[in-house]
Symmetry: C2
Subunit: 355 residues, 2 copies
């Protein structure tokens, strides 16, 4: 493999010294970019774009052409796994993802396929190796997955949900069935991330998008426990380097101490959490990734710059911080505002990394 030209993202995740704070954006290859919308139109629909390695590679690289980002992230979807397990993922225009089948009984659970990484999910690994080749060592490539709890909610509800009616009914009324589903998902996810690492992913992130919808007790039992199992099952070395794991529970700011015991190298934070407090709580154990409110990008460039400065000040001096938004970039953001954001991190952050 080609040598990595820019490794400050990997170094910061392992709390090793860096020259400036590395930066990337969740959903950086996304609808806010006109070139993304063009490629997606070429692909036909979102799933076809995910399943075409060349086009998935094309959109992965697009934001890197525009901005001095320190990492690329695989273009894919967290719902590839339930789809490969036989649920039949589809997207209806203007609505969220949907599944043709749902999982609500033991019989449903037993009907799930154990997907093979070289077969049902081979297209993801093709995308990883294609992107890795085309990146040619510019920046590291991040692989990712949804968390077991997050995937389970979609599988049980049959799509997105506001109140997680069926998932919570199962969690509270039939915890054994819920645990069986989560355990099966954790096993598949371990295979999935290890296959991504084999294909060239240099760091991995677990998106626990709906962990924050759980009670503090249920979070430990039904989400964190399975993420901890996944972290323990991953190969943590590849190409002679450690493969850092980032755990991101949206809305999980109250549980950082528990998350820091998961074995992950870094925790993602949304904007409701003070970086200063988070650092004092868990900064001796893990790196922190985040956490500017993505809605700041609706503001004028000078205000974006001021917010960047405040986030940098909050974390303070030294390594262990990866700058990011606290959630995916919104589709209506002007790409020039994203540029103002990235440029501000590049220009302002060296002051926080003295010799």
């Amino acid at each position: 493999m080609t040598e990595l030209e820019n490794d400050r993202f990997l170094r910061a995740l392992l709390r090793q010294p860096v020259d400036r704070t590395p930066v990337w954006m969740m959903r950086q290859a996304g609808r806010y970019l006109p070139e993304y919308r063009e490629t997606r139109a070429k692909a036909g629909d979102f799933l076809s774009l995910c399943k075409n390695a060349d086009l998935a590679c094309e959109v992965t690289l697009q934001p890197l052409e525009r901005y001095p980002l320190d990492a690329a992230i695989l273009f894919s979807d967290i719902l590839t796994i339930p789809d490969a397990m036989g649920l039949g993922l589809y997207f209806e225009t203007g609505e969220g993802p949907k599944f043709r089948k749902t999982i609500r009984t033991e019989q449903d659970l037993n009907s799930l396929i154990r997907p093979r990484m070289a077969d049902e999910l081979g297209y993801v690994m093709n995308a990883v190796s294609t992107i890795r080749r085309e990146l040619n060592g510019r920046v590291p490539l991040i692989g990712f997955t949804g968390s077991p709890w997050t995937l389970a909610t979609y599988m049980i509800e049959g799509g997105s949900s506001r109140d997680f009616r069926h998932s919570k009914a199962m969690l509270y009324s039939n915890p054994e069935l819920m645990h069986a589903l989560l355990d099966q998902l954790a096993e598949v996810i371990i295979d999935y991330l290890n296959a991504q690492i084999d294909a060239g992913a240099q760091a991995v992130q677990i998106f626990d998008s709906w962990g924050g919808a759980l009670s503090y007790r249920a979070y430990e039992e039904f989400s964190l426990r399975y993420m901890t199992k996944i972290v323990a099952g991953l190969q943590r070395e590849s190409e002679g380097r450690r493969v850092p794991v980032i755990l991101f529970t949206k809305g999980g700011g109250q549980w950082l101490e528990k998350m820091a015991d998961s074995g992950a190298d870094a925790l993602g934070l949304d904007w409701t959490t003070s970086l200063a407090e988070a650092r004092s709580r868990v900064g001796h154990k893990v790196a922190l990734q985040g956490n500017m409110d993505p809605s700041v990008l609706y503001a004028k460039p000078e205000y974006i710059r001021r917010e960047v400065e405040q986030v940098l000040q909050e974390y303070g001096t030294g390594t262990g911080h990866v700058f990011n938004l606290g959630h995916g970039i919104h589709q209506f953001v002007d790409p020039d505002r994203a540029k103002a954001f990235i440029d501000a991190v590049v220009e302002l952050s060296p002051a926080y990394h003295p010799e």
Copy 2:
């Protein structure tokens, strides 16, 4: 006024001894009750129901007929204020609330009406006094309002929002305009709650439904600051008793210490916060209200009972706890499950209040 037969709700809010933990449910007069749906059909639509004092009184009392609740809450909507300020509230079937006008410029702001409590908002005060008369001292009546920030988001977006695009753009790009709007709302809300107290409300709750969407810095500056101003502006005695104020920021579990300094008597908690931790952080200053996940009510009665026991154990022994859900009861809940919940609190909680 008639003497209050059951004051354990008011006593617990002031951290005075009680025989058992008082309980009520946010949105207890709501669509999950068939008798509510009947009255609403009679009224025509939701707004007509709010504006008809007799029917608003009827639905307020309905849950008290079914369950041994310790408080009634005025049936109304948080958007009565922006409506009375001239924005033209309406509801489209299957969608959330909408406004005919939005507030995005200084000119828009200057066009706002300062509503008079006996005039544009007189129907709310009529509902309060009607309900108070019909309650006839059974339990205390809670008045309420939305927080300035929460109301501002609806006024700026023109309705509900997922990303608060225009509100956050104003907050970050034109903070002066945002502050002017919030200040004006705080003034109106002070009048509004004081008028409710004059009309017979015995406690008041400030619903900061969208405070949790703010960054920790923005929360202090744009939401908490104005709620603190409101608390300071309220008359706190009525009919010879203190009128307790409850402040509920959904998703605000990380900011309890700051909220406890607002002057409020009690803080509402959602289910993401540990009651035990919250009590150790702020229980010496304020009472706590909450915090069972409303989705627990999708579970079978024996699981509901188990969760009630866990919430009681979390808070522990002694006064200062008002049992509630961590958010409004969902419309698809079976009323018998709500009964299982209330009954469990009534039966299990005396053990947590020894002599």
